[in-house]
Amino acid sequence: MNVVPGIATDTWTVAGRTFTSRLIVGTGKYKSLEENAAAVAASGAEIVTVAVRRVNISDPGQPMLTDYIDPKKVTYLPNTAGCFTADDAIRTLRLAREAGGWNLVKLEVLGEAKTLYPDMRETLKATEVLVKEGFEPMVYCVDDPIAAKQLEEAGAVAIMPLGAPIGSGLGIQNRVTIRLIVEGAGVPVLVDAGVGTASDAAQAMELGCDGVLMNTAIAEAKDPLLMARAMKAAVESGRLAYLAGRMQKRRYADPSSPLAGLI
């Protein structure tokens, strides 16, 4: 029997953990925790990024993210958003590990507030320290194939280049370099940042990425739940198209109907 490869049998593995969904979603910028949880469910994501922040000690009874998105059902990926030095990022992730008890984390060390571009010198330094401490960092980085390789050598368990600045929704601006990183990497590659709409996510997957990480594209859509569904479908479509292998491009037309037998 000719079995059509189903998306359900197509998995990816990071640091020994296997997932079916190739879409990782952020949990920031939502209007409410209810909407956030509903969007995560609609996206089908099995991993969500979360930030580590001070508890509001003036109002300790405030609802918590963990009350709405169950860390036992969805893998929490603590991030270091807002950290501009390796030391701050390491400190944040040590706290995250204590709060959650796991080693799989998202490292991002930012260079400046305007572009939120990664500071690769600090990022590499933080990666080395975190790996020594037993962390398994998935690392937000520039779209530089050499820097990506250096991160991998330092022990990054996934390479996550930006497709465009964080929160910009500009789409994948760097298809050539993302593709070069994918070809050279021995660990999963995920586009992290830049996706604005479904076709951007599909494009990232068509380039051969193992997954896509996004937040604003869903949270700031007019209907976040509908966009979450769109992104789920787009990531699956892009993945299937990549597996299928696209046709060659031609410079001119090539008719699809036979030329023989024309009346």
Partner: protein, 72 residues
């Protein structure tokens, strides 16, 4: 005079006071926080959750108490 004078500490950058002789667990309870949902740093050192009940708060301690919030 009490044998356990009140301790003045800093929690997330704000001054707070707790009864002398309190453990970190007791301090969290005073603040209304569930120790299972937070992580505690004391004077820049992580306090493992398993030891929160054993570590005594010392006058002048600076605590950071964090949890997970939405983020991208």
């Amino acid at each position: 005079m009490s044998d356990n004078p009140t301790l003045v500490i800093s929690v997330n950058g704000e001054p707070r006071s707790v009864a002398g002789g309190s453990s970190i667990s007791e301090m969290l309870a005073t603040l209304g926080l569930d120790p299972r949902k937070v992580a505690v740093e004391r004077n820049l050192e992580i306090v493992p959750r398993a030891t929160l009940a054993d570590v005594a708060v010392v006058d002048g301690d600076a605590f950071e108490i964090v949890h997970f919030v939405g983020g991208g």
